[in-house]
Amino acid sequence: MNIYRLELKKLYSSVTLWVLIILFLVFNIFLVISNSGDKYVDFIGEISHETGYVLNEDFYNKLSQVQANDIEADYLEQLQLDTYQVEDVFDEYNINEVGERYIEATGAPERFAKIMRNKYSDLQNVVNKKGESNEAMTLYFAGATYYMHQLLFKDLMGWLIVEGVLISALLILLSLGYENNNRTEGIVYSTKTGRNILRSKFAASISAALGGYLLLFTVTFLIYFSMNDYSGIWGSSVSSIFNYRNDIIAGVRPFVTWHSYSVFTYFLATIAMSIGLICSFILVAFIIGTIIQNSYISFFVFLIINALMIAIPLMIPNTTLFSYYIKYYSMLSPVWLWLKHSLWFTDGDTDTLWKYFETMGLCVSILALTAFSILAAARFKRRDII
């Protein structure tokens, strides 16, 4: 415990860590402030306390009784227009077509096309259930839903993951390379604790990394939610009729999740997934850091490896079965899971073959990387310290 505490102290004493945290916070606050303050969003946040967020008769009755002042009249009218005679998007909605378009666009070989068809067939059942339960008939942010959903779950969450990953990688590589950088390998690794210090370094790095992420996350979202009132719409479904997604192959289509998520539960699930993803990047950095002892070179290698993981599936032409294997399995890698973070808990897109791709990818990544980490640690214990 004492060693863990002392290793943690080394990390928190790093000037680079605090400079990065301040820079990231400034960036996040700028992102929040420059994208918040939409009066219509504020109005919905306020009015939802009176009307509720479920688009039923009660909602319309209450909405019709709302007394708006001159300034709010326009927003009230806008909301009435947005919610006027809306229909459930999931009624009679055929999502199998999306799957067929993806198969056609990518030219997926039959064995993969079959998996894709099965996925969309299962998703069709989910869509039907969502239709039966009127899950989509919720307010969210009405006409501003897409913008607000993208701001929170794509932009802010995406940047927070990047920041968390960079801080985590930096911390673990700093910790693992600390003795090499200070030329203290000899005295540290010949002590009673010896190379077993790796455990304390790993535990301290994970704690510091998650602590750093939590700090960024807390400050960013405290400011975000103080500027954007979600209190009345937390219970709205993320698959609301007002939410949608858009890609060049399938066009504009409803935002379909495998399970029923309210904005709040989707927010929590996304945080949990983000933490899991950051942990998998920590393992990547740990493996690199135990092999390459120099922190700066390790960080560079970490960036190169992730860049290659992005580039390889994009550069390999879809000409052989092997190239499809590379493409589809690459999507389960941490860096691709990050790139697709705005699609978590949905069917994904053209390259995501399996349902629950994010959960599957995270589990596969964590398992594989844990195995490699154990091997890397075992190699480190046998390695000559020259």
């Binding site: 060693i3 002392l6 000899g186 009673k192 000559d384 020259i386």
Partner: protein, 283 residues
């Protein structure tokens, strides 16, 4: 007893040490060889930083790799290039190393104060080490090696960076420490071990050249070392050892395997003479 049994260490195609057999009991052992002879390689193997390519190192009959932390618990090590955390004070740094050595926090506090006094650094106990001189850093290094009161104290070039006064102080300290422990001291400076080593170990061509007491090693050159003011007239094949300037004249010490009957005085060989004789191709 610490035993090195038939140990060879190779780095790819390069053989750093070959078939080394050594045994260490309590006392001071001086590893004496020029730079690059394999001293640091042996020391790093004794501290488990390197692993033998062939052979084994045993402590009380058990392989030190198998003993793992039980073995590391009884060693104290000062590396050749002693690294430290520049932003730490000696107190913080020794606190950290005490934790790594598994020393109880309460015990370590007392021990650290005691060691700081031993190495005469008590006045700069809480000063950041970035401002320390080479000698002060080396003294912190010696203190950390003694933290766990080691049964095996391994010091690689410990007097590097120390001024003459500190060297003498260090030698006296080592003599005092060697009574109930093994002290292995590597150096290429003969005077570091001449007076304090019970045994001197020398390597040549990456093999063990000798492992004997200083007097026995000196005896190997008995009758072969001479001093003369007129080296020009020494025609017998010889190896120049040292020169000393006195006024306009130079007193030259040389060694020869053939009995010399010219204008030269036979002298008692010193350890430095043996060192220069053995490694004459390098001097």
């Amino acid at each position: 007893m610490l035993a090195v049994n038939n140990v060879t260490k190779k780095y790819n195609d390069f053989t750093a040490l070959e078939n080394i057999d050594l045994e260490f009991e309590n006392g001071v052992y001086g590893l004496l060889a020029p730079n690059g002879a394999g001293k640091t390689t042996l020391i790093k193997m004794l501290t488990t930083l390197l692993f033998p390519t062939k052979g084994e190192i045993l402590w009380e009959g058990t392989d030190i790799r198998a003993l793992d932390e039980k073995y590391r618990d009884i060693i104290g090590y000062l590396p050749q290039e002693f690294g430290y955390y520049k932003n730490y004070s000696p107190r913080q740094f020794l606190d950290y190393l005490a934790a790594l050595k598994g020393i109880d926090k309460h015990d370590s506090k007392e021990k650290i104060t005691e060691l700081m006094e031993l190495v005469a650094l008590e006045d700069v106990f809480d000063k950041k080490m970035r401002k320390f001189s080479g000698g002060m850093i080396q003294r912190v290094g010696i203190a950390q090696a003694l933290l766990n009161d080691p049964k095996i104290l391994i010091l690689d070039e410990p007097t590097a960076g120390l001024d003459p006064k500190e060297r003498v102080r260090f030698r006296n300290m080592i003599s005092g420490l060697s009574k109930d422990r093994i002290v292995i001291l590597s150096t290429h400076i003969v005077s570091d071990i001449e007076t304090i080593a019970n045994q001197v170990i020398m390597f040549k061509d990456h093999k063990l050249f000798c492992n004997d007491s200083p007097s026995h090693i000196c005896n190997t050159l008995e009758g072969k070392v001479y001093e003369t003011w007129d080296i020009e007239n020494v025609k017998t094949p010889h190896i120049l050892l040292t020169q000393r300037q006195e006024g306009d004249n130079t007193l030259v010490k040389f060694a020869t395997d053939i009995e010399y009957n010219g204008e030269a005085r036979r002298v008692t060989p010193t350890l430095e003479d043996v060192f220069l004789y053995v490694y004459n191709d390098g001097v």
